[in-house]
């Protein structure tokens, strides 16, 4: 056959590149129950859809070519549930998937095309960071930083950390719209070994940058997974709520049967006493489309819940005070969580729904050291630049500044209240002590009279409605119907459901 030698040579080269770091390393990972770069791509994408870019890339250093198939990053294009995506899968079996000239070029191409052509990019990350000694000396001169981290949110980025994540893997995780961390992964600026040496004591990976650090403290892990497969499933789930790019509306999904039946449950879930707490996530699940709640940053700043959901098949972003944790008090970390969620939703044309039940902002020296003042105003700055519909629903109490940050006071286009709402500058029982200097334990009769006087100043749902401070007062069981109606009338028809994206260049790692 003509060109027989060419065909055979091409196949041999292809097989060598596809073999990654070799059968021994692959088997070691199999035995540990961990996927490799190629099996991750296969699991993530629709079968047969992967089109690789840069298969024959290697280290730019000629002597290193044989040892660096695909230069340690498997990149290309494929489909997830029929929608195009770009994918960058770090191949840890090749030089720890360290970053170098060729693989950075491959990665930049996928990212640039995602932005230019309007499809999401998924990072399947595991890397030792930059490759040494390639980067030393002239290697620094070859560095092609360009616009690597100028994040304009033209299309979604989603990241899964599945192993060590230093350098590029960490930078892209923190720049992504969604980052899931598999347990056992470590994300940090420097390795545990380097840090232990610098600090002169042993620092483990978990202590330095394990899943608890990033899910509970830094907030850089939006979700946590027990396995590679679970992490990849979460990526797919996240993307299903979002459009492929900022110029599209999110996809509309069928409404599961039974979605209209949760209303009565709300009254069973809500405690009658204002002193008792509840988990707002249970309330949310009672009124959204069945099984559609996708929580984001579940373990971070828990007194504020954020998550994507669907109502009548359409994606919405929920920001809800959660009394289950710290009584729903608002704090500095909660401001960061709310701000980053507002930015993400507005950038991808997702309407925002606020659910209010909060006693105010946490006060005290630690709150001030955490910069709560600046973070409150960052949140306001972001909220005011939202061009997608905003709806704020007051469930129970809402005191002080938080009332405004959660969308009332003329910010959200629609503000309504359950008949249990109680709004004021502060809890009337605290106000009596501050204004009159009377404590309940010293003179309960006078105290309670003064509390009644404070309440007579009016903060009920009907008092607010009288001055059109809320536009509707609803029975909690009507929540689903109310929200679906508001979303229908407030859909941005003039622009085909697409917002102005004033927040699309907002910093990715909020401060």
């Amino acid at each position: 056959m003509a060109f027989d030698d060419k065909i055979k040579d091409h196949e041999a080269r292809r097989a060598k590149a596809m073999a990654m770091g070799g059968p021994e390393k692959i088997e070691k990972r199999n035995n540990a129950g961990v996927l490799n770069a190629r099996t991750r791509v296969e699991y993530l994408l629709d079968g047969g859809s992967f089109r690789e870019s840069g298969l024959f890339g290697t280290s730019y250093i000629k002597e290193m070519r044989e040892q660096t198939p695909t230069d340690g990053k498997v990149c290309g294009f494929g489909d997830i549930e029929g929608r195009p995506v770009g994918v960058v899968a770090y191949d840890f079996t090749v030089k720890g998937s360290s970053s170098s000239y060729t693989n950075n070029r491959k990665m930049s191409h996928i990212k640039d095309m995602g932005a230019k052509r309007g499809f999401p990019v998924v990072f399947l990350s595991e890397s030792t960071g930059i490759r040494m000694p390639d980067v030393m000396g002239e290697g620094m001169g070859l560095t092609n930083e360009g616009n690597r981290f100028w994040r304009k949110r033209e299309s979604p980025w989603a990241s899964a950390l599945m192993g060590y994540a230093f350098g590029s893997a960490a930078w892209h995780a923190c720049s992504s719209d969604f980052n899931v961390m598999r347990k056992g992964s470590v994300m940090a600026v420097a390795s545990p070994r380097m840090v232990s040496k610098a600090l002169n004591r042993e620092v483990t990976g978990e202590e330095l940058g394990g899943w608890k650090t990033h899910a509970e403290h830094s907030g850089f892990a939006d979700a946590v997974a027990d396995s590679d497969e679970e992490a990849l499933d979460l990526i797919k789930q996240f993307l299903s709520y979002l459009p492929s790019n900022q110029n599209e509306e999110p996809p509309v999904k069928p409404v599961p049967p039974g979605s209209d039946e949760g209303g009565e449950k709300i009254l069973e879930l809500m405690p009658e006493s204002l002193a008792k707490t509840y988990d707002v996530r249970k309330i949310i699940k009672a009124f959204i489309d069945k099984d559609s709640f996708f929580e984001i940053k579940a373990r971070y700043a828990r007194s504020l819940t954020t998550g994507l959901a669907r109502l009548d098949g359409r994606t919405v972003g929920l920001i809800a005070n959660n009394p289950q944790f710290k009584g729903g008090v608002m704090d500095a970390d909660g401001c960061c969580k709310a701000t980053s969620f507002i930015v993400m939703c507005d950038s991808y044309n997702i309407p925002l729904i606020f659910l209010q039940d909060q006693p105010g902002f946490l006060i005290g020296p630690e709150a001030e050291q955490n910069g709560v003042i600046g973070k409150i105003i960052n949140w306001m700055n972001a909220l005011l630049q939202v061009s997608m519909p905003r709806i704020s629903l007051i469930l129970r109490k809402s005191y002080g500044r938080g009332f405004i940050n959660m969308g009332a006071g003329g910010i959200a286009e629609e503000v309504a209240a359950w008949w249990t709402a109680d709004v004021s500058f502060m809890d009337p029982r605290s106000a009596v002590t501050i204004v009159h200097g009377v404590e309940e334990k010293d003179d309960p009769e006078k105290f309670n009279q003064l509390v009644d006087d404070m309440r007579d100043r009016g903060g009920s749902a009907y008092d607010l409605a009288a001055v059109y401070g809320v536009k509707e007062v609803i029975d909690p069981r009507e929540t689903r119907a109310y929200l679906i109606a508001m979303l229908k009338y407030h859909r941005s028809r003039l622009t085909g459901g697409v917002g102005q994206h004033l927040l699309s260049c907002w910093p990715t790692s909020y401060v």
């Binding site: 707490t277 009394p323 289950q324 710290k326 009584g327 006693p359 946490l362 005290g364």
Partner: protein
Amino acid sequence: MADVDVKVEITGSVWKIVTKVGDTVEEDDEIMILESMKMEIPVLAPEDGTIKEILVQEGDSVVEDQTVAKLEN
């Protein structure tokens, strides 16, 4: 077996202790209830385990991040 500290997330006072040493709890089960900001705020088990120690009494004042109980898991 490792000890797990159960910490409070907010300053307040211990209103009701609803478990005792030796009880088995699952993650997010109530261990005790604080009073703070005029609310009854639950202190939840951070992980599955058995209550090894309860370090406070009803009526005690507690501050944010204080360990109020220990679990064994």
